[in-house]
Symmetry: C2
Subunit: 403 residues, 2 copies
Amino acid sequence: MNWQNVFATRMGRMKASEIRELLKLLDQPDIISFAGGIPDPALFPVDAFQDAMRAALSPENSSAALQYSVSEGYAPLRDWIVDEMSTLGISCSRDNVLITSGSQQALDYLGKSMLSPSDTALVTWPTYMGALGAFNAYEPTYDRLIPGSNRSAADYAETAKAAGGRVKFAYASVDFANPTGETLDRSARENILDLAEELDIAVIEDSAYQSLRYDGDPIPPMLALEIERKGTIDVCRTVYCGSFSKTLAPGLRVGWVCGAQTMISQLVLMKQAADLHSATLNQMAINTVARAVFSEHTAKLRRTYAARRNIMLEALQTHMPEGVSWTKPEGGMFIWVTLSKAMNGGDLLRSALADQKVAFVPGQAFFADRSGANTLRLSFSMANDAQIREGMQRLGAAIKAAM
Amino acid sequence: MNWQNVFATRMGRMKASEIRELLKLLDQPDIISFAGGIPDPALFPVDAFQDAMRAALSPENSSAALQYSVSEGYAPLRDWIVDEMSTLGISCSRDNVLITSGSQQALDYLGKSMLSPSDTALVTWPTYMGALGAFNAYEPTYDRLIPGSNRSAADYAETAKAAGGRVKFAYASVDFANPTGETLDRSARENILDLAEELDIAVIEDSAYQSLRYDGDPIPPMLALEIERKGTIDVCRTVYCGSFSKTLAPGLRVGWVCGAQTMISQLVLMKQAADLHSATLNQMAINTVARAVFSEHTAKLRRTYAARRNIMLEALQTHMPEGVSWTKPEGGMFIWVTLSKAMNGGDLLRSALADQKVAFVPGQAFFADRSGANTLRLSFSMANDAQIREGMQRLGAAIKAAM
């Protein structure tokens, strides 16, 4: 059978993720890898999860925990999220929150709800690769979101029309973004909201790393800024995506979307049709663990990751040759390195693996237009201090050799 | 904000599930409901899940259980499924199996992989409502699959072309189907395979109830019949969807797809982009529980549900008036009732709830063409013997009153 005959047109845009393919090659123990960008499992709150699972599977709770449940998500967990959102300046109710299977699923559903083929999504160059992957299934065109630029809404609208559709949303990761580690300042956030108003489009705010701020002052989420402008979440165009993957554990696949009820109720219908609901047991366990340890646990994560970031920044200063620059993130898991214009991150990876046994992610895959060949992403979340120092020395040597 | 301005065209087809909306109204304790169609939580293997979660969260396993994992799914669970498939005549390897978040997600991904707008999906009248819900997101046209009919492939192809696309697949629930409880016999299965060959389309075999056969001889899955014809799964067009929701527990959201590697590897890419992977912890727990208790536990389910089916069939015989007919399922959870032509299941539900305090699902929602107004679905999975007897008496009274 020739499957091409039955595949939908979207399948032409389903490509293997370069990061994931790469990760399969990195199992050799002598390679120091900064490619991953996943939480350090040594920091998982295992005891709290053990207690939570025991409670969920107790005689009082097990019938509910193992049974089908509503597509909206487990009410007590949605209530905890409502409280958490309010600490960020987002006043909302349970009906503004949908539980998703990680924030990746939120991105998939948001793309699915808004993108018809040839519609335009605005994303930064570079942006989170997983967002491009999720949106690609709905066959959009991408245009470049440049917060703070003076490119006019009319120009965006015209470009989208020429591409055969309409601008549907702007997507932005706001705090210590994957891959750059950079944070949008308040005026950049206001600027995106202004553009969205003019274009009459939605804003997808990806806030996966929000709880991992190590220094600097917190900046209100775009959804909070929009509520400030308009008075109530239910007239806002910003949809906030949150996740427990970076704070408690990714393996349970629990995240959430928070936004206007009109949008959330449509996403609930979509989830009902697509996978019924996220695992009941997992939502109950996450609720218990969040209520028991969220503050103290995220404080511990911040201390640990901040120290690793500091060591990496120091080691970069020591080992990088002239002409290489990098971001100084106030949180998250990533530092973004820019090489001299002529260099290529993919080529560098090959030589760095072969000659120096050090790994990272070449930056090009994070660009919707496939530019950014001279960039790379480093993650400091998984390596210990000695590995970071040794790894940056190796990376410096690899770059010098390639110059 | 007017969200209609940014919604994709597919959102016009996202409607609230009538069953789910209905279920919200059935919380009153004096109503006897046969609407649900969900497993009896009193039968969940709770002890086995407690043991499995304790093992998954033990010091040796917790780092993996709580971490990100591969999109394909947990290898030991895929291996268990390979063994299970072989008992059904489906010889395959781990690479033919993708773990999904319930078989509902498999249906969503299969629709997503094959349907471009205006393509045609062949489904039976009636069919599983959740399949229509999942496929609707990809804006197909439906045409009627009638196993055993002599409608020609050319006629199907022409009708699909007139609708603006191509036939992409035939979807069929083969054993004790939701909603009818009916089973496709071997010649009906062969007939679907023949039609699929002629049309050069895929076959989606929904086998969610496969383990719940109470009597009669098992019939090989369509995938097994196709492997018999062709020698190897990797040249087959049938994709088999399985689920642990009816056998172990639905609340963990674990199901699987089994088919040709070409298709499975595309679905893996799709899953990677849509939600990364199903919950690691849940896959590990399901693997442990399946290996520990699957045979003995499903034997217990069969004994219990078979007894309930028998009582319902007997009570129907006692209480249904002349002119009402019903299916005699060899397994599963459902009996399908056909009223006289002039009657309407929706109207009957209203009067049955008000006057007799008995609930069921009107059949119309299971028909892609919205026919079947004089049908209804009963589930015997959740009620005890006394409730079934009393409930069928009430239903008989409601039908007589409406005649």
